[in-house]
């Protein structure tokens, strides 16, 4: 039985990576278990300068999910490279994905290229779909022309393979995938969160301080499977699928939709052992569905 997959030239021992924003810089979870079981992990979204993010509350409960509006809190790219990644390296032997956010083309290009000489990073995940940052973030992810031109600019400077994280908050996600593919992306990841809102009945105001945020969790899984499937049919790039994955069966389903590898996000927040448990459950789930090699099921559902 083979669980390993190749993704952008990196051999993941299994297809399960922890999703950006739900796993800190990794070492937080090493207190709970040996995170070397992971296929990989995508680091907390990183920007050029340190960011505090949005005012509190940043979290709202939803049926089978949550809304978050963190606002890309992070210590800035210099500290990520000089402190966070070395600390992660003490507990994780594998390579990781650096998730890069920004407000301008220049900022994206600068931050992404700062990882050029970082051996621990095997790919850049360009976050053009964060719904929680004003004046940028998602604008890059919802306009095909702007997205394509951004990817083109980053690709010119960045040395690592470039994966672009797509927003589901668009009319046609296949169009976005084609645009970033034409811009030079090496892979795409999807879906980021869906824009959502909750209202407090007592105060008649939004639960989230900034009004709205990104909805994720098991509730969005069917949307994610559909979008991954559409994107895989539209472009020939490898896809990292995510959105509400909470079990080994979900991993198989996402891979049959077309994903070469997956990320697990919201599930980590309610069960810190989620990734480990999903990985441990994979062989039995594969056995149950007659799967010998995970590579055989990628895009099996066309």
């Amino acid at each position: 039985m083979n669980l390993s997959v190749d993704f952008l030239g990196y051999k993941m021992k299994n297809p399960v990576a922890a999703a950006s924003g739900t796993f800190g810089f990794g070492y937080e979870f090493a207190e709970f278990y040996d995170i070397n079981v992971l296929g990989s992990l995508s680091l907390k979204g990183t920007t050029k300068e340190a960011r505090y993010g949005n005012p509190l509350p940043r979290i709202a409960e939803c049926p089978s999910g949550l809304i978050n509006a963190i606002g890309l809190q992070n210590p800035g790219v210099e500290k990520v490279i000089s402190e966070e990644i070395p600390r992660l390296a003490t507990v994780y032997d594998g390579k990781v994905i650096a998730n890069v956010g920004g407000h301008s083309v220049e900022e994206y290009v600068y931050t992404a290229s700062r990882f050029n000489d970082c051996d621990k990073v095997f790919a850049i995940e360009l976050n053009i779909s964060c719904p929680n940052v004003k004046g940028g973030g998602m604008a890059f992810g919802t306009d095909a022309k702007i997205a394509q031109s951004l990817v083109y600019s980053v690709k010119k400077i960045v040395k690592k393979p470039l994966m672009v994280k797509l927003s589901p908050n668009v009319t046609d996600i296949a169009d976005m995938a084609r645009a970033v593919a034409d811009g030079g992306a090496d892979a795409v990841s999807l879906i980021n969160t869906l824009v959502g809102m909750r209202i407090d009945l007592r105060t008649r105001k939004p639960v989230i301080a900034v009004g709205k945020g990104g909805f994720s969790g098991p509730a969005v899984f069917p949307v994610a499977v559909r979008m991954v499937n559409e994107v895989c049919k539209a472009v020939s790039l490898p896809v990292m699928g995510m959105g509400g994955i909470s079990s080994a069966e979900d991993v198989l389903e996402m891979m049959m939709a077309g994903a070469t590898a997956v990320q697990v996000g919201a599930a980590n927040l309610v069960n810190p052992y989620a990734c480990k448990e999903i990985i441990e459950a994979l062989p039995a789930a594969m056995e149950r569905y007659g799967i010998r090699d995970l590579k055989d099921i990628v895009g099996a559902c066309r």
């Binding site: 940043r58 409960e61 809190q73 810190p272």
Partner: protein, 240 residues
């Protein structure tokens, strides 16, 4: 942090909005720490402060704030609760003459704190503030471990006014204060009484430092209420 399946020993209403949930099978926790308790049918866990711990038994005093806590109030003896325990830093329990100041459901963690001071041979003073007499709880329990002053906003029990008013009126001598309650109360204490330890409340995603959902600004950078807190020195908090 530990993930534990706890068993309900008892669950009873203390008043219209607060219930006492006694869970067994818990690892040792200390005053100021909290647990993330699952509410059946809800995605996120609920962060609840420890009110008492002894020999594997953890007591949580929970205010019914919404549908999730309402569901938890219906738990019956023998049922199990999936919990993340031993979360957060806890109080320092260092004072020689401690003053404990609680507001509403924020009185709950101060009960375990009073017990821990008691174990060191120190009897603290506790000022417990509630909106009205009907919302008060655990007064007899507190009286056994602390010298208690009660304050209510409407004067229906104890002295009229908020906890800070009561502290000033009673002219209490103390060398360090420990407080938990609404943010507006904690801020007033930080301004009026100077440095002490404050236990903050926040809407949390995970409760163990992963999501950054509960970060606050401090004099030494951003800190997570769930991980570096929930107890902070009053002097380190940069109030919004």
């Amino acid at each position: 942090m530990k993930r534990e399946l706890l068993t309900v020993k008892s669950n009873r209403k203390l008043n219209e909005s607060v219930f006492e949930l006694v869970l067994t099978g818990a690892s040792p926790m200390r005053a100021g720490q909290f647990a993330e308790l699952t509410a059946e049918g809800f995605f996120l866990r609920r962060p609840i402060s420890l009110a008492r711990y002894e020999d594997g038994e953890a007591v949580f005093l929970i205010r019914i704030a919404g549908a999730g806590t309402a569901k938890m109030s219906l738990l019956e003896a023998g049922q199990t609760v999936d919990a993340l325990t031993c979360l957060g830093n806890g109080f320092d329990v260092s004072a020689n003459a401690p003053l404990l100041i609680g507001g509403g459901i924020g009185c709950a963690p101060l009960y375990q704190l009073a017990r821990e001071f008691g174990a060191k041979g120190v009897r603290p003073v506790a000022v417990l503030g509630f909106r009205t007499a009907a919302e008060a709880y655990y007064l007899d329990e507190f009286a056994a471990v602390a010298d208690v002053t009660v304050a209510t906003d409407d004067g229906s029990l104890g002295v009229r006014g908020n906890a800070l008013d009561a502290v000033r009126a009673a002219n209490i001598r103390f060398d360090r204060y420990y407080a938990c309650g609404p943010a507006v109360m904690l801020r007033a204490l930080a301004v009026g009484l100077g440095n002490g330890q404050l236990s903050l409340e926040a809407r949390m995603g995970c409760g163990f430092g992963a999501c950054m959902g509960c970060s606050i600004k401090t004099v030494s950078g951003f800190k997570r209420v769930c991980k570096e807190g929930p107890v902070f020195e009053a002097s380190e908090i940069l109030w919004e």
